[in-house]
């Protein structure tokens, strides 16, 4: 055991002597590994970034919120089964809340009706189009995933009376009232004046598709006043315990069927959606990107590994006589094997560390200059790239090292 330790340290000593003695050659060989590691780890940061962006996006939907809607959050081939589903109305929310209240130990907390409409808005000379106008009740505060940065949400009285008050998403506030407080200002939504009573904190984009900050929340009653009472709604149902989401969904399904007075044989005429649905749909896309990306970048690493293998073969050839001498002095096969493996691994590790440092620099640079690109450097990336370096060294150094270990000492000693 101690012998192995001594042989190990001796091997590292030789490896670093060797790398220093052949500095140019070692640098060029390591370059292959550096490029490979940079490619792989950059891909890793991108995948990390995508993952985190994805999680953040899902968090905007709320981990403990179930969405009752006419359509499911997935592509449906049988659209005719959905198109004639009855709309979801505000009465459904009221009925559902009564059921929740009368159910002992209900897993559901509250159902909140939410309506959404695209519209353009303006304030003074500044006009902003494509803003989502959200209408809801005062319970909206219980399901909103964004913090309220300034002011407040409308209260019960304002909501029930359909007061013309509004809460702005952060980018709406920034655009309409650049550099000045939005509170108590007036926003013109399709000719109606709404007073700003609050501003939401910045949430970011949902999967890079649309911005959650590009919305205005108003009382549902006010919305219905101007856009008609038959406006299509969704119900957002808050769950008490997000770890029991599945059971909660089942309870909600039963409750909704009662609300909709469905017969036992009937199929649900509503869909219950949750962030998991997105996950299920996007996970294969995500892993597809990851596999393709890692495969392509892995090729760069593979080329680097071939370089290592080549240089180890050269090193073994050059030092055949030394191998003979070491064997004559009592080096066993695995001692020689270890020596050349450690040499290959050392070059790879140096390449790995340099490559990782480069990646870190690039990732920081991208985040500064191009914040839209998803990159995320993580601790596990350090671990993974070191492991990859070591494995690359072992894999590419193994054949030449095995050859060296099996050299006949008589032949090796005679080699000139």
């Amino acid at each position: 055991m101690t012998r192995t330790i001594y042989e190990f340290t001796e091997s590292f000593r030789i490896a670093f002597q060797q790398i220093r003695a052949n500095a140019m050659r070692s640098v060029l060989t390591a370059l292959g590994v550096i490029i490979g590691i940079v490619a792989v780890t950059l891909m890793g940061t991108a995948i990390n970034g995508i993952n985190i962006g994805f999680q953040n996006s899902l968090a905007m939907l709320g981990e403990d919120i179930l969405y009752v809607q006419r359509w499911p959050w997935r592509n449906v081939d049988d659209w005719w089964n959905y198109i004639n589903r009855p709309a979801i109305r505000i009465e459904h929310a009221e009925k559902l809340n009564r059921i929740i209240e009368s159910t002992p130990n209900s897993l559901l907390e509250v159902a909140v009706p939410v309506a959404g409409r695209g519209s353009s808005v303006k304030s003074g000379d500044i006009k902003l189009s494509g803003v989502t106008i959200i209408g809801s009740t005062s319970d909206y505060s219980r399901i909103v995933t964004a913090d309220i940065a300034e002011g407040r949400l409308y209260n019960d009285i304002e909501a029930n009376a359909g007061r013309q008050v509004c809460v702005l998403g952060s980018s709406v506030a920034e655009t309409l009232f650049p550099g000045r407080p939005a509170l108590d200002q007036v926003v013109d939504i399709r000719g109606q004046h709404f007073t700003v009573i609050g501003v939401l904190a910045k949430q970011g984009e949902f999967l890079g598709l649309f911005s959650f900050d590009n919305q205005i929340v108003v009382p549902l009653a006010a919305l219905r006043k101007y856009w008609g009472s038959r406006i299509d709604l969704q119900l957002r149902v808050k769950v008490k315990d997000k770890t029991k989401l599945m059971q909660a969904e089942e309870e909600l399904q039963g409750a909704m069927r009662r609300v909709r007075s469905q017969l036992p044989a009937e199929r649900d005429n509503f869909s219950i959606n949750q962030q998991q649905a997105f996950k299920a749909q996007l996970d294969p896309v995500k892993s597809g990107i990851a596999i393709a990306g890692l495969f392509i970048t892995g090729l760069a690493l593979f080329v680097g590994a071939i370089g290592i293998m080549n240089i180890t073969f050269v090193s073994v050839k050059e030092r055949t006589k030394e191998i003979g001498t070491r064997k004559a002095l009592g080096a066993r096969r695995r001692t020689i094997l270890l020596q050349f493996l450690i040499e290959a691994v050392s070059i790879c590790l140096i390449g790995g560390v340099v490559g990782l440092a480069l990646t870190f620099g690039i990732a920081v640079g991208i985040r500064e200059k191009l914040p839209a690109l998803p990159v995320e450097f993580s601790g596990s990336l350090i671990f993974i790239s070191m492991a990859v370096s070591i494995i690359t060294g072992i894999v590419s150094g193994f054949l030449p090292a095995l050859g060296a270990s099996r050299l006949d000492p008589v032949v090796a000693l005679r080699y000139e």
Binding site: T2, R3, Y6, E7, E10, Q17, Q18, A21, K321, E322, G324, T325, R326, K327, A328, L329, G330, A331, R332, R333, R334, T335, D408, P409, V410, L413
Partner: protein
């Protein structure tokens, strides 16, 4: 065959009484395949070597001298026959077992010194002890002792290219001695040295012999062989003569 009149310097050399049996070779043959041809390098060699003998192995090229040396040094195994080293049968040992024997029992001295060029004298001498699994402090102590035994106590941190040929060979001899081996096996130890330095090295062997070492020198030079107390001559894979030198 007796050596011609020995130089004056060699006349009063005492021959030390040989000790226990170290090497016992009986009926050893060695075949090589060279393409389709089979070469009989050794054709049945008989040889015993005792502790504290000083032996020279001679022979023209192709006589099997190198093959016998490789065999004695446990670098190679015989095709047939018996080879006992300190009572252990080494004829059928595998690579790593042979490495173990070489490490503990045999000190090699090569014609080309075979030092590690980027390591200093001390580390070169320590090398066999590393493979023996000795601790760094014990290693250093033993290596320093071996180096001062060959008169290089003041050169321990010199690299081979900072040493003269004779000094390099003395580092190699210190490396051969460091494990307290049963035999020192020297292959043309003066082949790369001028005659004066060669004589110095042979004087060092004489000194080691006096200290009780068992020395086997493989050479084709009569002048070198004459330092030994016993000369074994090979021809065509057989021992032609095995005689004491006086």
């Amino acid at each position: 065959m007796t050596a011609p009149a020995a130089p004056a310097a060699h006349i009063h050399r005492p021959t030390r009484p040989p000790g226990a049996l170290v090497i016992e070779i009986e009926g050893v043959t060695k075949l090589y395949k060279m393409g389709a041809e089979i070469i009989h390098a050794l054709r049945g060699v008989q040889l015993t070597i005792r502790r504290n003998e000083y032996l020279a192995i001679m022979g023209p090229s192709g006589s099997g001298k190198s093959t016998l040396m490789n065999m004695l040094g446990c670098l190679d195994t015989p095709t047939d026959g018996r080879y006992d080293f300190n009572g252990k049968n080494v004829a059928h040992m595998v690579d790593d077992e042979l490495a173990e024997i070489r490490n503990r029992e045999i000190g090699f001295v090569f014609q080309t010194f075979n030092l590690l060029p980027r390591s200093d004298a001390l580390h070169n001498v320590e090398l066999p002890l590393i493979y023996a699994g000795m601790s760094p402090s014990a290693r250093r102590e033993r290596a320093l002792a071996a180096l001062s035994n060959v008169g290089l106590a003041d050169r321990i941190h010199h690299k081979p290219n900072e040493l003269s040929g004779g000094q390099r060979q003395r580092v190699a001899i210190a490396r051969a001695l460091v494990n307290n081996p049963s035999i020192i096996l020297a292959d043309e130890p003066t082949g790369n040295l001028d005659s004066k330095t060669g004589e110095e090295i042979m004087a060092l062997f004489e000194q080691l012999y006096d200290q009780g070492q068992t020395i086997i020198v493989v050479t084709h030079e009569e002048d070198i062989a004459r330092h030994a107390r016993r000369i074994v001559r090979l021809r065509d894979g057989l021992i032609e003569s095995d005689a004491r030198v006086h």
